[in-house]
């Protein structure tokens, strides 16, 4: 026990412990997994990160595009039956648990007696984009969609609410009084200002997901990303790896926060320094 304590420097003062940890993580990179002594933690993460990135970026593109479309559509169709219908759909999407949805998707697309429609779906796993982009795409398409469902629902509702708020703003009335077409008013004047909230939410969610928040999806679809790594080490109580993934996660969440602030200032000139 004392030896292990010493190995991790846990017998030293806190700041020193911290520095030692950072040194092992980032400089000597010799922090070693418990469960598998051959596994260096840092290379393990750098290997897993591209998988997570592929997963999250792809999903983000899908959820942004679709939530904006649905949000806009709901506002355009306000007063008709389609607006509440879209919002109920969105609500269903929000309340769908990811792992359950993932399992259902797998059941439909992976089972040996699946319908012919899904015969093209490759087995679970991951193919790097560098070795075969098409296979990369095919492997990820269902994980992407699975993650997106939740976020599309959520973001579509947020955007719709924002757009309806902005609709009553004086400058939207001014834009109409200028003779702009409804489409231009909606896209240039209403959507642009609504995107301010949208983008700040997006940055935070994106950071969390890249930081390992897509854990369940990765596990369900057998994607060897950071989430899966965390999951495996949690199961094995592999402390060094857990520590490393947590720090990795914190890193991205912080970065995302900083990026959101910068982006926020780009979008809203009022908080830009003069």
């Amino acid at each position: 026990m004392a030896a292990i304590k010493h190995q991790f420097g846990l017998d030293r003062s806190l700041p020193v412990q911290y520095l030692l940890m950072m040194k092992r993580l980032f400089i000597t990179r010799d922090l070693v997994s418990y469960g598998n002594q051959a596994l260096n933690v840092v290379p393990a993460i750098t290997q897993a990160a591209p998988v997570t990135f592929s997963l999250v970026i792809g999903a983000a593109v899908i959820w942004v595009v679709f939530s904006v479309l649905i949000g806009l559509l709901a506002v355009i169709l306000k007063g008709t039956i389609f607006d509440p219908l879209l919002m109920i759909l969105a609500l269903i999407g929000i309340s769908m648990p990811v792992f359950w949805l993932g399992e259902v998707v797998n059941l439909i697309t992976q089972s040996p007696n699946r319908s012919v429609i899904f015969s093209w779906v490759p087995p679970l796993g991951y193919v790097p984009i560098t070795s075969n982009p098409w296979q990369w795409f095919l492997h990820l398409i269902f994980p992407w969609l699975t993650i997106s469902v939740l976020y599309i629902g959520f973001y579509a509702r947020v955007l719709r609410a924002n757009l309806l708020d902005v609709e009553n703003e004086d400058y939207v009335r001014t834009a109409r009084a200028k003779g702009l077409s409804e489409r231009r008013v909606l896209i240039k004047h209403m959507l642009r200002t609504s995107m301010i909230t949208f983008v700040s939410l997006f940055g935070l969610d994106f950071g969390v997901l890249v930081g390992g928040g897509a854990l369940l999806t990765e596990v369900v679809f057998g994607l060897p990303g950071v989430g899966k790594l965390t999951y495996d080490s949690l199961v094995k109580l592999d402390l060094p790896v857990i520590m490393a993934t947590v720090i990795y996660g914190a890193f991205f969440i912080t970065i995302a926060n900083a990026l959101v602030d910068v982006l926020y200032a780009r979008l809203d000139p009022r908080i830009r320094p003069a």
Binding site: G79, A175, A177, L180, R192, T193, D268
Partner: protein
């Protein structure tokens, strides 16, 4: 009389609400001649904004109902299709609003917002539109227009924003400029600047102006004719001088008497119109001003029409009193007891 530029006929606008139907505008008719300045005066809630926004069909409340005709250049604006309506808005008839702080989109540069108005209605390229925006800003008196054109709205003061709004509204040389309380949110010294600017620009651009305000002092300067609104109706309508020097409606007298005036000796007490504006959901029977009117009599239980009751054909009012009676009665109200 010259062919009117704009003719509003029996405009009625109502909103369905939980408490009942709000009759915000109830039978408003007026005409506007080219290059004329028409002042519309009335208290909060009297229907000034709703009237003018309906002329441009800018209210899209699903609970709204509109009746009546708005004839512009021989066409009924109410019957125009979407594209034709967009051509009218900002092209033929432009509008500026009360609060300059919130009337511009905070995320776009002032110049781009003006250029957008130009590009929507004129077939020019972006560079030309931008140059025109600079010229317009110069015309409305923005110093260093060349650099300020790239500012965002929050970098402008209230008065400058209202100038920029005016520049934007005049960008397409509209026939009519509707200004909805353009100075209410501004200080008196800035208000004076804006009124002077409008006065100058109406000659430069040859636009007719409809100036909405609740301050009779503002229209005393630049209006040619004035309409006084009360509870969704025009209660008096006439040439400026007739309205100020021979006012026919007790509400107009009340307004004139309620203003603490700098041009008169101080009075001990201000005249005040007792009570409150009526409910628009269940308005009083007969003359809408009756519950507050000190001169009401039996006949007032029937609503008076807006017609001429004096020798001037263009001076209209909605009051049953005899003109002769009025001449005696009004001085007390207006001069606060110091009968002239």
């Amino acid at each position: 009389m010259a062919e009117p530029l704009l003719e509003v006929k029996n405009l009625k606008v109502s909103f369905r609400t939980e408490d009942g139907v709000v009759k915000a505008v109830d039978g408003v008719s007026f005409t506007l001649s080219p290059r004329e300045v028409l002042g519309i005066v009335g208290e909060s809630g009297s229907g000034k904004s709703v009237t003018m926004m309906s002329v441009l069909r800018l209210i899209n409340d699903p609970n709204m109902q509109v009746e009546g005709e708005v004839i512009y250049k021989g066409r009924d604006v109410m019957k125009l299709d979407k594209d034709q309506m967009q051509e009218v808005r900002g092209g033929d008839i432009a509008m500026i609003f009360q609060d300059p702080m919130t009337s511009m989109n905070p995320v776009y540069r002032i110049g781009d917002q003006i250029a957008e108005a130009i590009l929507t209605h004129q077939d020019v390229d972006k560079r030309t539109a931008h140059k025109r925006a600079v010229d317009l800003l110069k015309q409305v008196g923005i110093p260093q227009a060349e650099t300020r054109v790239d500012d965002f709205p929050h970098q402008f003061s209230g008065g400058m924003r209202q100038r920029a709004m005016i520049a934007m509204a005049l960008a397409n040389n509209p026939d009519i400029l509707i200004a909805d309380e353009p100075t209410t949110a501004l200080d008196v010294t800035i208000q004076a600047q804006i009124i002077e600017l409008l006065d100058k620009l109406k000659d430069d651009f040859g636009s007719a102006i409809i100036l909405i305000t609740h301050d009779l002092g503002v229209v005393a300067d630049i209006a040619d004719r004035i309409a006084v609104m009360y509870a969704g109706r025009i209660v008096e309508f006439g040439a400026k001088r007739d309205l100020f020097y021979d006012p026919q409606h007790p509400y107009t007298w009340g307004l004139l008497g309620s203003i603490p005036r700098l041009d008169r000796p101080k009075t001990a007490r201000l005249h005040s119109i007792e009570g409150m504006p009526p409910s628009l959901i269940s308005p009083p029977q007969g003359c809408k001003f009756r519950p507050r009117c000190p001169h009401a009599f039996e006949k007032c239980m029937e609503e008076p029409e807006l017609v001429s009751r004096v020798d001037k054909r263009d001076h209209l009012d909605r009051c049953w009193l005899e003109p002769a009676t009025k001449r005696v009665a009004r001085y007390q109200t207006i001069e606060g007891g110091q009968a002239a």
